[in-house]
Amino acid sequence: MPMLRRDVLKAASCGFGYLAFAGLASNAAEKSDRYESPLAPKSPHIEPRAKRIIFLCMRGGPSHVDTFDYKPELENYAGKSPGEASGLNAQKGRKLMPSPWKFKQHGDSGLPISELYPHLSKQADELCLINGAHTDLPNHPQALVQLHTGSFQFVRPSMGAWALYGLGTENQDLPGFITIKPPSRLGGAQNYGSAFLPAVYQGTKIDGVKSVDGGIGNIQNSQYDQAKQRKQLELMQSLNRDLASRFQANSELDGVIESYELAFRMQTAVPDLMDLTRESAEIHKLYGIGNGATDEFGRMCLMARRFAEAGVRFIELTHEGWDQHNGLRDRLGRNCKATDQPIAGLIADLKQRDLLKDTLIVWSGEFGRTPAVRREDGRDHNATGFSMWMAGGGVKRGFRYGATDQFGIAAEVDKFHTHDFHATTLHLLGLDHTKLTYRYGGRDFRLTDVYGRVAKDLLA
């Protein structure tokens, strides 16, 4: 008969001390069914292509026709209205504006990418461009929340929470879902919330990459050093173990004991992980750290790699300010510059560490921007067609999936709705989006509600 966790704890409380306890706990007790951490790794439904996700959220709606959706026809129709074409009524009273930037084909795959991304272009053969993306509403708050939770109308769990619920996480010293600099408005915590899923699955927010505790909160003790704290913890855990042995029916008490040990480990693991000075100068350079324009996002990308390497399941980075109703030339250029080298660095770095094969990188905004404009130097919201891209774990390399019409207004070929994005992403993680359900209020809920289609053609 296997040793029950409870017996282990009893033994531990009889004076083996912490080290003996920890050793036993990792051998016998983890196999026991008495207490299972809700974050322990779980078996996926199908063979996973990716073990983890890095989601690069470009908040504001990046212009697809100026970045990843090459539309040469815009040149031929510059200044003309697209209104006559059927189904394009939303663009009435506007004039088509060709991209002010040049596109070139890159890599062996010849993917067309705009000159705004000189560094990323060198990674063209790693990218899977998705040009037929579309979503329901051209409003920031709804579209951003829908991108993250599948629903713009109701409070639903976020994609990361679903992933964690389905898969658990690999590193028990760290949170399984980390989001760096998420917007506090436009749905705010909803975008990384767990809604009705148990709270343990919600994302841990990190406000910046410069503070030591990374905004996790309470990661360091202002009063005692580690030795003192360990001693204090010994006394507390002995009380806790006494209690647990008196109340055998309650496995939560085991959870409390474990959570203190994890918290104690996190105090060391998190600041270490957040400490970018441990990385070499070459790595800093690769990500553009130290260079004014790219420093901040470079740090975020490097942090993402460190989290990915450490076994965090779902990592999200937000880059704000892609809402160019005016000042397109200047501001879109600036945004691309701030993110181009860091993202290219991330791909290169993951590749050289052999992590790209099972890390899925996703780049997306909440929607795209109108190819036809009302103002000379700005584009408005376009939800009917936009672009995103994926790279790494399980997607085709150097591939272009789906397409918009000749001007880039609406998705036409292999349309990829937000629900399809969710279904496909879960699929890559080894989860069947129709089977990943949670019963709440008498109904089984899914990230994709009753929708969603796995885009099989983009799978490697």
């Binding site: 708050p141 806790n240 006494d242 055998q248 939560e252 008490l253 918290a263």
Partner: protein, 821 residues
């Protein structure tokens, strides 16, 4: 008669619709194409599942009439003439969305025919209406336990008649005996006193309170085997029920269900600076032991109840804040969508909180599991659409749906604009006043010289002035009453009022706010009605009648749902585990007879919450130990049969309040208003920093600001429910962020220090005395010899000033501190 008229209207309406669709009569060629290429395919491949003859039409889709095929089913329009992309039938045939017919895809040529047909406008000669009328067999539906009338069951026959102390115990023991389980032993007095304090007032007892109880029992607390005198327990319970802290504790339980929050949440998070009035109303109602049926009626229709005094009028109105405090999507552009979303929130909270039914599921289609047709959702929606919701929020800054509040002056209530809207009105008034002044002066000048030209101009100006004065009067009427100095400031209240013209609303096809179907007479839910429910009168919203229908003794759900919530708060789990879902998809009760006994008794005895709580706490099963032998744990690991009490993690509020009371820093004086009312109107996270709601108060946690998406850290960390969700049982998670909070947060460190100072002051220089005092202040018990020895060792090893803070910190952070057993 009214019904007959409305049916007539429906018929006229539908004929009108059809004739619109037929603006262009199909040509002969069209009809021939339909008859040869389309109809035969439909008949052969589709009618089996999608016609009025099929047993149960799938997906709410009927394809045997023009009306049906165009209207579509649950997932979209079947056919949109001329629009291939929007015609679901085409994408389903192409196997792009649904795959239809399911067995085998139709040949490409057939699909091409259908495409051709849709492109030419889907000409269709088939007449007839095809509203899905799923026949719901209500009688059959009512055989489900939750819809059965509540009947007081006869007491069960028991083998061991000596064990039960109360009726409740008889029902519990009967189930235990049937399953050959022995109940656990009675809890020890020292455990029981802590359990009773926390359960009733949400605060652990002070050492003095423990001593007083033990003295009353005539025991030292831990001596096993001695039976606790029930009179002592009764005295304790009575005393706590009468304390004002009782309402703060049980009020918070209700605020969970009422999705209480002090901002709109969602994309634009505007504050509700007046929501706290509803919070205080709930606390006061519970302290006053307001009959629970009355409590329900006030929250749904307090504005429609007669009131004798200003105070009563105020309370009745504040109660309806229940319907106004839900989350709102203020940047919604579509007014109709926004209005229907408010209605949905109101139907959702009403049905789940009081009836334990998920009526909102019927917004887009008939309820999938319960006998709630979509039409009945809109019968309720008519009631709430005939109601105006006053939730305030300042306009501008992305708030496309700014609302008003109710200004209460004496016995009269009137709508009051807020912030932006009011400022706008002020601006208009200023502008108009200026214009009038200018014209007046001009008029004076003109009248001095009586020329014909001047006369014409003067007449023109006079006309203009009349118009301007009219506009000025209207703007003044719109503006906030406070703006006029001659009147006393109104009390501003969130709540509801009946609209000027109560009316029925139309069913919305697939829940689309602008896709209107038939008009549905206002009414209630058939499945939960004995016989046939009367429709509410046409001249009011029908809210009062709805409330009365809910609390009617014949309603099978209300009392059961209420009882179950009380039980949940005293055992950590309901007799029905799914607190907010008593429908077919909810859980079955573990003790149906007990539930019915308590529900019937509750109604008979006048819906008194205090009486019910006491009744449960005086039962033997409530007073059992949480400890059980391994056999019992093995046989009933979930403790569904209640052979013991459940060890329960305290709620976030209790954990915080317990720290404050241990350290001697708790301020028991109720808060006046809320931090949110002090901060005022604003958009949280945009213009209004969430830091403004940081907690520094030492008042009880129920008074902390509950701003959606900015809930105070300690509450958030310890599973405070998302305030946008109609919470059932709270989660109990055990995660490292909680451990980090207990180890390192400034609040916990500060409380530990304050507690240490108090311990030293109370206990004098003796280490032993200090340790005992610290244990008693935190865990409500003295340490065991072993614990005492370990603590002494720790203190001796530490030998610095900080060591007492460290020890107090250990006790506050220990698992036992946050559990009751």
């Amino acid at each position: 008669m009214r019904i007959a008229i409305s049916i007539l209207c429906v018929t006229v309406y539908s004929v009108f619709t059809i004739s619109l669709l037929n603006a262009e009569e199909p040509t002969k060629a069209d009809i021939e194409f339909f008859e040869t290429k389309i109809r035969p395919v439909l008949v052969k491949h589709c009618y089996k599942c999608h016609s009025s003859k099929s047993k149960e039409p799938k997906g709410g889709l009927l394809l045997d009439t023009r009306n049906g095929i165009r209207r579509g089913g649950d997932t979209g329009h079947g056919v949109v003439p001329g629009e291939l992309d929007e015609s679901q039938i085409i994408s389903a045939m192409r196997y792009e969305s649904l795959e239809m017919p399911p067995n085998e895809q139709l040949p490409a040529s057939v699909i091409a025919d259908f495409e051709k047909w849709v492109k030419r406008g889907a000409p269709d000669p088939r007449e007839g209406r095809s509203l899905i009328q799923r026949k719901i067999d209500f009688d059959k539906a009512r055989t489900y336990w939750a819809y059965q009338p509540i009947r007081k069951p006869s007491p069960p026959v028991l083998r061991d008649a000596s064990w039960p102390r109360t009726k409740i115990d008889e029902f519990i023991l009967a189930r235990l005996e049937a399953n050959q389980l022995q109940p656990a032993t009675d809890a020890e007095p020292i455990q029981l006193v802590r359990r009773i304090y926390v359960d009733l007032i949400g605060l652990p007892p002070t050492p003095e309170q423990v001593d007083a109880f033990l003295a009353d029992c005539g025991t030292s607390g831990t001596a096993g085997g001695t039976e606790i005198p029930q009179e002592a327990i009764e005295r304790l319970i009575d005393g706590l029920l009468a304390s004002p802290q009782f309402g703060e504790r049980w009020g918070r339980h209700w605020l969970d269900v009422a999705r209480y929050g002090e901002s709109t949440g969602m994309e634009r998070n505007y504050t509700y600076p007046h929501a706290w009035r509803y919070r205080d109303y709930v606390i006061a109602s519970i302290n006053a032991d307001k009959p629970f049926d009355r409590f329900i009626v006030e929250q749904l229709a307090g504005d429609l109840l007669p009131a004798q005094t200003e105070d009563e009028r105020y309370k009745n109105l504040v109660a309806t804040g229940f319907l106004a405090i839900g989350p709102k999507s203020l940047n919604e552009r579509n007014r109709e969508q926004f209005a229907m979303d408010i209605v949905d929130d109101q139907i959702d909270v009403t049905s789940r909180a009081f009836l334990g039914l998920t009526v909102s599921c019927a917004r887009c289609h008939d309820h999938k599991f319960d006998a709630i047709p979509q039409a009945e959702y809109y019968a309720l929606a008519g009631i709430f659409r005939s109601t105006n919701t006053f939730y305030g929020t300042a306009g501008g800054g992305g708030n496309r749906q700014a609302g008003q509040l109710i200004g209460l002056r004496g016995m009269s209530a009137s709508p009051v604009g807020v912030g932006g809207e009011n400022a706008k009105a002020g601006q208009v008034i200023k502008q108009l006043t200026g214009q009038i002044k200018k014209l007046d002066a001009q008029l004076k000048r003109l009248k001095k010289k009586d020329t014909p030209a001047n006369k014409t101009r003067a007449a023109k100006i006079e006309k203009q002035l009349i118009q301007l004065r009219k506009r000025l009067a209207a703007s003044k009427k719109k503006a906030k009453p406070e703006a006029s100095a001659d009147k006393e400031p109104a009390v501003l209240v969130m709540g509801v009022q009946d609209g000027a013209k109560p009316s029925d609303t139309k069913l919305r096809v697939r829940g689309e706010p602008n896709d209107r179907g038939d008009t549905i007479p206002r009414g209630f839910l058939t499945v939960a009605t004995k016989g046939t429910a009367a429709n509410p009168p046409g001249d009011s919203s029908g809210r009062l009648q709805l409330a009365e229908w809910i609390v009617h003794p014949d309603n099978p759900l209300t009392a059961r749902v209420a009882i179950n919530r009380f039980w949940q708060n005293l055992f950590g789990r309901g007799l029905v585990v799914s607190l907010n879902n008593f429908g077919n998809n909810g859980e079955l009760p573990s003790h149906p007879q007990l539930l019915d006994y308590l529900a019937a008794d509750f109604v008979e005895e006048g819906w008194s919450s205090k009486r019910l709580i006491k009744q449960v706490m005086m039962s033997r099963v409530y007073q059992l130990s949480c400890q059980s032998d391994a056999d019992l744990t093995e046989l009933d690991p979930q403790n569904r049969l209640l052979s013991r009490q459940n060890q329960r993690r305290m709620e976030a509020e209790v954990i915080r309040d317990a720290m404050l009371i241990a350290s001697g820093q708790l301020d028991l004086k109720p808060a006046e208003g809320s931090v949110v009312s002090q901060v005022g109107d604003g958009n949280v996270g945009r213009g209004l920093s969430a830091d403004r709601f940081a907690v520094s108060s030492t008042k009880r946690s129920v008074y902390l600001p509950i701003v959606r998406a900015a809930v105070p850290e300690i509450l958030r960390i310890f599973d405070f429910p998302e305030p946008s969700i109609i919470a059932a049982q709270r989660d109990v998670t055990t995660v490292p962020t909680q451990a980090l909070y207990m180890l390192n947060s400034p609040f916990v460190l500060g409380q530990s220090k304050a507690l240490a100072e108090r311990v030293i002051e109370n206990a004098g220089p003796s280490h032993r005395d200090r340790i005992v005092r610290a244990f008693r202040l935190t865990l409500s018990r003295p340490p065991s010899d072993d614990e005492l020895a370990r603590a002494e060792q720790y203190v001796t090893d530490g030998n610095d000033d900080q060591v007492w803070t460290e020890l107090c910190h250990v006790l506050i952070a220990s698992a036992e501190f946050r559990y009751i057993h």
